[in-house]
């Protein structure tokens, strides 16, 4: 499979994340930009995106062409080449409905055959098409380098956990199968069992099934533990797990009056004002002799660096001692909301007890929980936490590549079914492997050839 580095195909990506304005912009650039947008955009009244003049703003809805369902209310601007940022035809979709509809909209664009832009690719095209002048070249190269680095980090980071394991396992299965096929082809005279049609069908179908399950999981947001990584941090017994449960509105974490209850990280995703938050409940931080608990504590400290947002909890009835201060120092440079919990009889005195920036709350009584939610959303929307559009990108990218992976596998099954020889099936499976490897950012290498020599005793 070939990545296209040259400006010929149409690309799309989130150009501006959801800022404080609550509007996010998806940009489509390339020869198909207008026709693709027309397929998913239904303008109000008698207007028409294809025929309207350039640099016009149309109001209407994004409608899923398959289900005819409205996805979002949007403003769409059409800009014809060459007077655009990239000097290609550009369509920008201004999304209003929050992150989830925006993600859906981008997914629809990609389903129309548009390719997700590489990091920095709009800028690259702007340069290659002569829009930016020579002096800006180096800035462009830096942007590409930096953005892709960040993207890869994000992508890998998002891939942790269940999804990454599934991808690795599928890759392993596929490489095994391919090495088997290739060994059959390159070593026809050796004692290698012939690849049977049954084995091929079974293996590939199982992969298709697994991919479907992953994609369904992605739709409901269960597999992708995406969102603003929100760390709930504090000393033991301050009510961290209680807060997690309250935000989730379910009894996910165990809550007891015994300090040190939570010993490992718990992660759950919740959507607040359309923004996905990944809540991370941790072991209360303290010096401990208990090894299991200590590991939990270490992980919590680890997470401080990786979290986008920290909810720092303290018991309002206790003063801030030296140990608390040490912990507070750890989060000093991070985006943090300070929560003074157990303010059960919430009154004006509570506000002053620990002073600014502490916000008194009571998880038990439900005081100020809505205010907390608002503040969480505000931090994101004000752009103080900037991860969301990147999260969106990597997430949509994964989904898209998984879809392509599935399609390549299905193609392999069709090829097999039509009675084509083994090396044709190999072509489809190689395509599939390339998509899978793109998810994990791995280079196409000699994995299959290596596997042949691992698994089979061949050679003179």
């Amino acid at each position: 499979m070939h990545r296209q580095y040259l400006s010929e195909d149409t690309i799309a990506a989130v150009a501006t994340g959801m800022g404080s304005s609550g509007i996010g912009i998806i940009r489509i650039s390339g020869p198909e930009a207008v026709s693709v947008a027309s397929k998913i955009f239904t303008p109000k009244g008698s207007q028409n995106l294809e025929t309207c003049e350039s640099h016009k703003l149309l109001y209407g809805h994004i409608v899923d062409p398959q289900t005819a369902q409205r996805v979002d209310e949007v403003l769409v601007s059409k800009m014809k080449a060459p007077h655009t940022y990239t000097r290609e035809d550009v369509v920008e979709i201004n999304c209003h409905g929050g992150i989830v509809p925006m993600q859906k909209t981008l997914a629809l664009v990609l389903q129309e055959g548009v390719r997700l832009a590489e990091p920095g690719e709009f800028t690259k095209r702007a340069f290659l098409n002569g829009r930016l002048d020579l002096t800006q070249a180096e800035a462009v190269m830096d942007i590409i380098g930096a953005k892709s680095e960040k993207n890869l980090q994000l992508s890998l980071y998002q891939l942790e956990g269940a999804l990454s394991k599934s991808i690795d396992a599928m890759e392993d299965t596929l490489i095994d199968l391919l090495s088997f096929i290739e060994a059959n082809i390159d070593y026809p005279e050796y004692d290698i069992e012939e690849v049977s049609e049954t084995r091929l069908v079974e293996t590939v179908s199982a992969l298709v099934k697994k991919t479907k399950a992953l994609l369904e999981g992605a739709q409901t947001g269960r597999i992708y533990k995406e969102g603003i990584a929100t760390l709930i941090l504090g000393e033991p017994n301050v009510g961290k797990s209680s807060l997690l449960n309250a935000l989730l509105m379910s009894e996910r974490a165990i809550v007891t009056e015994i300090p040190g209850t939570t010993r490992d990280i718990i992660e759950e995703t919740v959507t607040i004002q359309g923004i996905p938050f990944k809540l991370i409940d941790t072991a209360g931080i303290r010096e401990t002799d208990n090894i299991v608990e200590q590991i939990g504590v270490d992980k919590a400290v680890d997470w401080i660096e990786r979290a986008d947002l920290i909810l720092f909890m303290h018991d309002i009835n206790k003063p801030i001692d030296a140990e608390d201060q040490a912990l507070l120092d750890l989060v000093a440079n991070r985006q943090t909301l300070y929560l003074a919990n157990k303010a059960d009889n919430l009154n004006t005195a509570d506000e002053g007890k620990l002073g600014s920036p502490w916000m008194p709350i009571s998880v038990l009584e439900g005081h100020n929980i809505d205010r907390l939610k608002e503040q969480m959303a505000a931090v994101v929307l004000s752009g103080k936490v900037s991860a969301e559009s990147d999260f969106l990108i990597t997430n949509v990218r994964h989904i898209r590549l998984l879809e392509l992976f599935q399609r390549a596998l299905e193609q392999a099954l069709e090829t097999l079914d039509s009675g084509m020889p083994l090396e044709m099936i190999s072509i489809d499976l190689q395509d599939a492997l390339a998509y899978l490897r793109e998810i994990s950012g791995k280079q196409i290498d000699e994995a299959v050839i290596h596997r042949i020599f691992e698994n089979f005793c061949v050679g003179k």
Binding site: E118, M141, G145, D191, G419, L422
Partner: protein, 633 residues
Amino acid sequence: MTYFAGNYDVIVVGAGHAGSEAALASARLGQKTLLLTINLDAVAMLPCNPSIGGTGKGHLVREIDALGGEMGKIIDQTMIQCRMLNTGKGPAVHSLRAQTDKWDYQNAMRSVIENQDNLTLKQQEAVELFVDGGKVKGVGVQTGAVYHGKTVILCTGTYLRAKIFIGETQFYGGPGGLAPSMAFSDSLEKCGIPLQRFKTGTPARVDKRTLDFSKMSVQEGDVPIVPFSFDTEAIDIEQIPCYLTYTNEEGHQIIRENITRSPLHLGDIKGVGARYCPSIETKVERFADKDRHQVFIEPEGRYSNELYVQGMSSCLPEEVQISVYRTVPGMEKVEIMRPAYAIDYDCIIPGNLTASLEYMGIEGLFCAGQINGTSGYEEAAAQGLIAGINAVHKIQGKPPLILDRSQAYIGVLIDDIITKSADEPYRMMTSRSEYRLLLRQDNADLRLTPTGYDIGLISEERYQRFLKKREQIEAEKQRLQQVLVRPETEVNSWLASLGQPNLKNTFSLAELLKRPQITYANSRLVDPQRPELPQPVWEQVEVQIKYAGYIDKQIGQVRQFQKLENKRLATDLDYRAIHGLRIEAIEKLCSIRPESVGQAGRISGVSPADISVLLVYLDQQKRLKEGSGDDHS
């Protein structure tokens, strides 16, 4: 004492498979060529298996032939058995392999070389390479003769500081009992050419009279034989069979008991061996659960009793080899004529070559064959041919011949060795080609003969024949589009006999040929007007029609591929000065020095983002140039 011994355009060091092709190409293209060999009796020697071709390798031979090389013709003349492998699979992976009489093979090649105009063959051991001011000047030999050359092609095979291992018996020695080349490596290193050590090995040769073939299964050749060369009309010979037998636990046990006597275990072998060429002891160790391994018995020649024991290469002591071999059914009384041995030798770092096989930093110096870290006669010959052509082009001031990955296995081979730093000898496999369906052995002439003609290695007469074949193919493809097959009773009963559903509409025969069960041959019935065509023509027609969908898909991929191949990178580019490249990428790019953005993308450790950065950089440079151009005008 040294003395001046003559001026040459091209000096080829080593007359193995790479050297033979290189020297012939250069001489045929009109350059005064000197071919040096350490031993005149070792020209085009086959020191390992007595066969040419096989999966991937057979493709290489066809390509060499299509470009005007010699290997295909020689094997056609000297083969004693031939088989098309993989016929149970699709056309892209059919591969020819022939057993040859290795003495006949050598003699045939030597005779062509000796009778080639512009070509001088000498038994001389090269001991010194002359380089001055970054340019190659010539070669000095053991007797003191100094040859001046505009270009030099190194095809030293496995001779450089070669060391033989047979258990504890270890000595400096070349392949097949020949002398090693001990001095030349030092000279290369002095010229600033770093060397590494690779290892290979060969099984024992045994006496035919001491084997019992009734305990083995026979492997006959194909009838009729498909020749390697597009120039060979037909091959009618009496074929000699090969035999198949197996090792067993008893032999494996002996190996395990004596494994500590292997020089690999003793730590004596410094060279890195190939995984696809495992010794029998490596197989037993690595695949402990396999209770038997295949052993193919192949004749070394028509008139000799020597037999090659494929599958049992070894570097265990001779007496251990004898006991292990004697456990194999049919080999109980075997007498070994030459023991198995491992050999390790010096080779260059192929990443230091350009795609034309010229050494970076030493103008006019080319390298081909095992010195480049490859294995195999065919791989060597392919490189030799390209190096020979490019040495000539260098002299004549023409652009080098560089075949890319979409044009030929030769392109895949050269691109792989110069781009990927392999840590073992490189063997061609069809799996290495991403455009396998396009690079078939059956269409090598269609792909490469026009190039061979342009270069000057394909005669006018042969080219005319080729043009005719190409026209016939196109005409027949056209015709089959016009042949209509109607849903008539006769047609439907024919389809039923092939297990095919009835036709509902009228189809062209070309359309019908896409169905797996329908072939060109069996559709004659519905095609009464069919012209009589040679088999290579209608086979080509059939393949092109049958797999058109996939072929088109790969052609589309090739178009994308070529766009990045066409973005050239200067080999002296200062990657450190390019903004946005990652450190790892900078290091890799500086050491490999790719010639195109496409090649850069294949280097491990260079990411897609690095490629984007390179594209922007190239554009910046272009604009700078255009800008300064304006200033001067």
